[in-house]
Symmetry: C2
Subunit: 263 residues, 2 copies
């Protein structure tokens, strides 16, 4: 099977013009099949602020009312997505920007929660591989924005990490998928203030140990739990690393590699 890279970029890279430009150049240089999943950085929050839309947060998650949904759809699926696609084209990389709604790619539903109404937030039911497979086989890179819909015309704001993970899992039936979470840190760090303290490899066994000794920054645990969930569902390898070092991450020379067991 061919290798497919599913690469999530974090907010900070999107916010900085020069970081994004370098990232897109590096992404264009990756040979073979690739999917880029992005969020919207601080731009959505900034635009909502300019429009006087109050941001409501519950448990660190944005509550998406109708006006906020409009803003994130405009920013994620409009401005950011097309800026990235045009940037890739300028680097000779033929790319197509999609949301979960396009080509019936993602089936989702409005989040159900016993006590909290998160508003127009989508949870993913399934990812259809047909269109993605077809486009990838035409050597077209995919740029996915984290917007889905409920099948009844209602758009939904969806977590970009989850979109990346679900796409990676679904595509595992067709490719050897490597899922990369790239952000502003060098990887999973033993000391959150020391970028040189990257843990190069985490396996199921070492993860249990690191957790029991509380050696991993609590904010990192959901990402790692998601990584192991992806590995359990067919993804070959997950890497968490610095977006600045994308070629090194792809080459296995930077970031934290997460695997079920050492091979």
């Amino acid at each position: 099977m061919d290798t497919l890279y599913v690469i999530k970029i974090g907010g900070n890279i999107i916010d900085e013009e020069s970081s994004l430009s370098l990232f897109l150049q590096a992404f264009s240089g990756i040979p073979g099949k690739k999917i880029l999943v992005h969020g919207g950085g601080k731009l959505a929050t900034k635009l909502a602020g300019q429009l006087g839309i109050e941001q409501q947060m519950i448990d660190g998650r944005r509550v998406t009312d109708g006006e906020t949904l409009k803003v994130v759809t405009m920013v994620y699926a409009g401005y950011i997505n097309k800026k990235i696609v045009a940037g890739l084209r300028a680097n000779g990389c033929n790319a197509i920007g999609l949301t979960g709604t396009d080509g019936n790619m993602i089936t989702a539903h409005k989040r159900k929660h016993p006590s909290i109404d998160f508003g127009f937030v989508g949870d993913i039911d399934s990812v259809s591989t047909d269109l993605l497979h077809n486009l990838l086989e035409q050597q077209i890179a995919i740029v996915a924005a984290p917007i889905t819909d409920d099948g009844n015309g209602q758009l939904l704001n969806t977590n970009a990490d989850t979109v990346a993970q679900e796409i990676a899992k679904a595509m595992s039936s067709l490719y050897e998928v490597q899922l990369v979470y790239s952000f502003e840190k060098n990887g999973v760090l033993l000391d959150v203030n020391n970028e040189d303290s990257v843990i190069p490899l985490i396996t199921e066994q070492s993860y249990a140990e690191l957790k029991s000794k509380q050696l991993i920054f609590a904010g990192m645990l959901p990402k790692l739990d998601n990584a192991f969930a992806a590995l359990e569902n067919g993804v070959l390898k997950v890497v968490i690393g610095n977006a600045k070092y994308l070629p090194e991450i792809i080459g296995g020379k930077s970031g934290t590699i997460i695997q079920r067991n050492v091979r």
Copy 2:
């Protein structure tokens, strides 16, 4: 050759929730291959106003400065495009939203003009048929937003009528293309205040006559000139009609049909 409908919808339909909903239902019901091209109606102007961005107009055309470009990209490629795609999905129509940037579909350049700088406005050089053909053959409808780029990463605001026309012309090598301009009027009217005065058929010969007798509303002339240009470049038939009556337009029972000669 199969028939392909390239249908442009005007601003008013997009602005009215119930009109858009009915239109999307009708569009979903058209059998076979179809492409929908949309602009952004009054939403872009409204959003620019809310953000305090001054709209500059020269000769009735919007000058697109950097901030306005951001707004139209967000509104056209983001909010409107994804709302339409989700609406079609809800009607059982598998659709994919694209701009000219996606999949290298359209090659464009920043408008050159001897005296006026229109800002980030794109003129189209060519339309690549490969991706569109491939998607249409998978029974996926295309929803095209009028945003292009210059190949160097710069997004460009592009006239939606022109996008529809250029796509129609390019696709004529693969399909029998019918180009439909649907808007809020019943067709080309002899009396602009009388919706019952639709001219059912205009040929090259009758157009010359109508023009010489000044029987056609001046604002309609550019649309008709464009229609004949499309016909000269392989498009089989152009129809101008009311978006409310899309099934009737497709059935040849409503609107103004524009053909080179009577067959």
